[in-house]
């Protein structure tokens, strides 16, 4: 049997360099969860419809399920835990809790990463701009209003 080709990669996750081996068609989402233990990155649809696997790749919000792991070689990656942790939450995370923007919580990881990308480039977003920025992230619980409220309030706090 032909040996499967593997490729060594190194990537900076939340400021720390990590090394692993991947096969060509493996997705970034797969290695984050299965090889690097980053289970804060969620898997929903696995084909770019739901956005729950959103991460920052060189500062831009992307679907980890639509990115090849090997394409993150020598790139910088930020996941939810790189934005804030339980001990040191980011204002976005505090605001989500405060405004009831988390119900089942499955979309939250991706929502906060997408919101972070927005606030990094636009500290004064309108509600419409917030809705557009999270339009690749599906939430089936909240009806989005509370999520938009939470991002709006976090933006105010961060200014």
């Amino acid at each position: 049997m032909k040996r499967r080709n593997t490729y060594p990669i190194e990537l900076m996750i939340n400021g720390e360099w990590k090394r692993t081996e991947v096969i060509a068609q493996e997705t970034l989402l797969h290695i984050l969860r299965e090889k690097l233990g980053r289970t804060e990155v969620k898997e929903g649809c696995g084909k770019g419809d739901c956005g729950t696997c959103t991460v920052l790749l060189n500062g831009k919000a992307v679907n980890a399920c639509l990115t090849l792991a090997i394409q993150a070689h020598r790139q910088s990656l930020v996941t939810l835990k790189g934005i804030g942790t339980l001990e040191k939450p980011h204002p976005l995370q505090e605001s989500f809790v405060k405004h009831g923007a988390i119900q089942c919580g499955f979309c939250t990881s991706g929502m906060i990463v997408a919101a972070k990308a927005l606030l990094d480039s636009n500290p004064h977003p309108t509600r419409q701009e917030i809705r557009e920025a999270i339009s690749g992230n599906l939430c089936r619980c909240t009806g989005y209003k509370k999520i938009v409220d939470a991002i709006e309030m976090a933006a105010e706090k961060l200014r």
Binding site: Q71, A114, S135, N137
Partner: protein, 285 residues
């Protein structure tokens, strides 16, 4: 499966030659990964051209605009040049997928994928864009965009050929454009119907007319016969009615999970009428 990340265009072209018929060119991967999951792609190698940074550009020349194949859809939405000269292309880019996908998907990938609903193709058709490609032994082939597409996910590109850039003339001052996309929702919606119109109206008479249509035929198309009905005429209510009937005959929509053929037919003529009216009323202001 093998993976290559060529650092130069010539390296990419020689890899394509070597693996001809067995490799898939990838960049943003937003189509390739779902295609691999559904086993629609059976490539033995992936040739990742995303490192060819010099194919990511938007250049304004005296009379033309040139867009590198690796320009992302986000790059189109944020470009001042595109916004200023071809707002229909910005508009199509803003309605493309969602912000996460737009950060990865490229204009070259959208064209090479050749979906009948390819969002960037519809405005590029009315701009009469030229697609510039390279192969190892044939450089700078210029393909008029209406000849690029052959059928669903099929182009005239050879398997060792790669899109390098897309160019088009800046519209003249008198040329007015409009674009509309109808999807089932706003974000991440595959077009049910998309329409782009370019008209040049002088002294009440239509001098130039171009109509691009997406998702209503096996490939993105121009409605040439309907365009001919407009040229040299005054745009009246009865002419618009004739054009709407004509455009419905020029298309061959299918029924699928998103919409029926009948619905697509009536939406094409509705959107065409609205866009023509929009351009005419802007001209009167």
């Amino acid at each position: 499966m093998e993976y290559f990340a060529p650092a130069t265009l010539s390296e990419a072209l020689s890899l394509l030659k070597k693996w001809t018929g067995k490799a898939r060119i990838v960049a943003g991967c937003t189509n390739t990964i779902p295609d691999m999951r559904s086993k629609a792609v059976k490539a033995e190698a992936l040739i990742d051209v995303s490192h060819l940074r010099n194919l990511s550009f938007i250049k304004e020349e005296k009379k033309r605009i040139r867009i590198g194949a690796l320009t992302t859809i986000s790059g189109l939405t944020f470009s001042r040049t595109i916004n200023k000269y071809v707002p229909i292309l910005s508009e199509a880019a803003r309605q493309f997928g969602n912000p996460l996908v737009r950060n990865r998907a490229t204009i070259g990938g959208n064209l090479a994928d050749a979906s009948p609903a390819a969002d960037t193709a519809v405005p590029l058709l009315v701009l009469e864009a030229t697609v510039v490609t390279d192969r190892e032994r044939e450089k700078n082939r210029q393909i008029p965009i209406d000849r690029l597409f052959v059928g669903p996910n099929k182009t005239i590109l050879k398997s060792d050929e790669m899109i390098k850039e897309v160019t088009f003339s800046k519209p003249d001052l008198g040329e007015k454009c409009a674009y509309a996309k109808l999807g089932l929702r706003n974000a991440m919606a595959i077009s049910l119907v998309s329409v782009a119109v370019l008209l040049q109206i002088e002294g009440g008479e239509c001098k130039k007319a171009r109509i691009g249509l997406g998702a209503v035929a096996p490939k993105p198309i121009r409605a040439y016969r309907t365009e001919d009905m407009l040229i040299g005429e005054k745009i009246t209510e009865s002419l618009m009615r004739d054009c709407c009937q004509s455009v419905e005959r020029e298309i061959s929509p299918i029924s699928d999970v998103r919409a029926s053929a009948e619905y697509r037919r009536s939406m094409v003529s509705l959107l065409l009428r609205r866009l023509i009216q929009q351009i005419v009323s802007e001209g009167n202001r």
